[in-house]
Amino acid sequence: MRAVLSVSGVSMDFGGLRALDSVDMEVREGEIVALIGPNGAGKTTFFNCITGIYAPTEGEVFVSPPGRDRINIRHRKPNQVTGLGLARTFQNIRLFPSMTALENVMIGRHCRTRAGLLGAIVRGPVTRREEKGIVERAYSLLVKVGLGRWANEVARNMPYGAQRRLEIARALATDPFLLLLDEPAAGMNPQETQDLKALVTRLRKEFELSILLIEHDMKMVMSVSDRVVVVEYGKKIAEGTPAEVSADPQVIKAYLGEESDA
């Protein structure tokens, strides 16, 4: 299996604090990899480093979009990274609160559509077709994540669980090959988490995605992921199948030990 994301020796310093310490990691085509670790371990920082929001202090980040060669994205801007096919959600939901669910997803189509100033003003057949395509695609994605009937609702007014799924739909709208989910089940009730789990596995199949997932809910991690990577204090401390990792004494001590009942 070829690796769609390979990260080597990534470190990130904030002043004196080393939030990531020489982390290596790979995500292969079609895989669901879970990134776990206690709060403050550096998981979100890792996401920010590979999506271009932060420039890592050291290390390289390579992605391999389908049908293309490996590209180093260490110095790319976040929008360029998304353009290459990485899409993400945020731990603290970052929707466009006063836009409708539909519009939120439409924004996700921005980087796959072309119309510029002239197109906007003239609004010729090409532009009109493109606009129509955006709306249709956005709506079908909403339906796919089970939010069809929320399409016309302003994001701010949607229930929490729906907002999380809306973020996923918005990310999918950018046509990613690698989807990064930052604690998608946080704040969801058990039923919603169950639905989310099903959604994630279904999306992988339907969109031929690879998924990197940060999650605290162990049941979800254990059941959806092919591989688990554990970080603590910015260092990778273990890696393997869910079964291997949950048997690792170091992991149990660092993480499962304190959260096994969560």
Binding site: F14, T44, N48, I53, Y54, F90
Partner: protein, 312 residues
Amino acid sequence: MEFYLEMLIAGLIRGAIYSLIALGYTMVYGIIELINFAHGEIYMIGAFTGLVVAGLLGASGLPTLGILVIALVAGMVFCAGYGVTMEKVAYKPLRKASRLSPLISAIGMSIFLQNYVLLAQTSDFVPFPRLIPEFKFLEPISHLLGSSDLVILVVSSLVMVGLTLFIRLTRLGKAMRATAQNQKMAMLLGIDVNQVISLTFMIGSALAAIGGVLIASHSGQINFYIGFLAGLKAFTAAVLGGIGSIPGAMLGGLVLGVAENLPIILSAFFADIGLNIDIPNDYKDAVAFCLLILILIFRPSGLLGRPAIKKV
């Protein structure tokens, strides 16, 4: 050679005034992250207050230096009053509003204060009496350093040292620093943030008043519009030094003051080496703005400021 030295000193004098005004910008910015657009107007009001004092006391027979001191004090007191009033009316209710709102409010305040002085006083340039006597001991070098130059340098140095000590050593100064660093935390520690903000406006305004009275007496005339350009220049100085940084504001003012003489200096330099390139001196204002744009693009944290990290 003498000419260049002259220009350097003239630049430093102007720079010292910029520094005094820039301190107000930087202190306010440090605490509430607002570019107080109307700060230049406070400086102008300081100059006018000085004018009123000078006019009232002109016939009283007091020595001019005494009048200067009274004018400075009156300017400081009244400007401090204008400063806090302005904060209460135009900025305080907007603390939680979006960023644009207080900025627009500040622009409105600036236009308001200009026209208030225009209506209350006059729209023309008015002569300002010389409140600084000629010092005998400066006569031999008076073409280089006049007595008003000396007074400006001395007063502004004293003020800046005083301010630095105040902020370093006193309880209120420490409260100001704490609030600048983290307002929420300061509040939790029992610091009265509102009081600190008022104090900041008072001090900043008082410093601007000193600048206003001194420069008025130095240049000999004022009008209601002088605050606009001076304010912009001082803001440039604050940004140049690193906005939020007090030593930065001082340094930025001096650098800007000297840099503004570049058109003259360069013209003279070209003439010296036999080139005939004359840069109109009116471009000195453009120098300041170009400098401002360049710093903001290439080093937005200024000479002495710290770069900010965005949080996701």
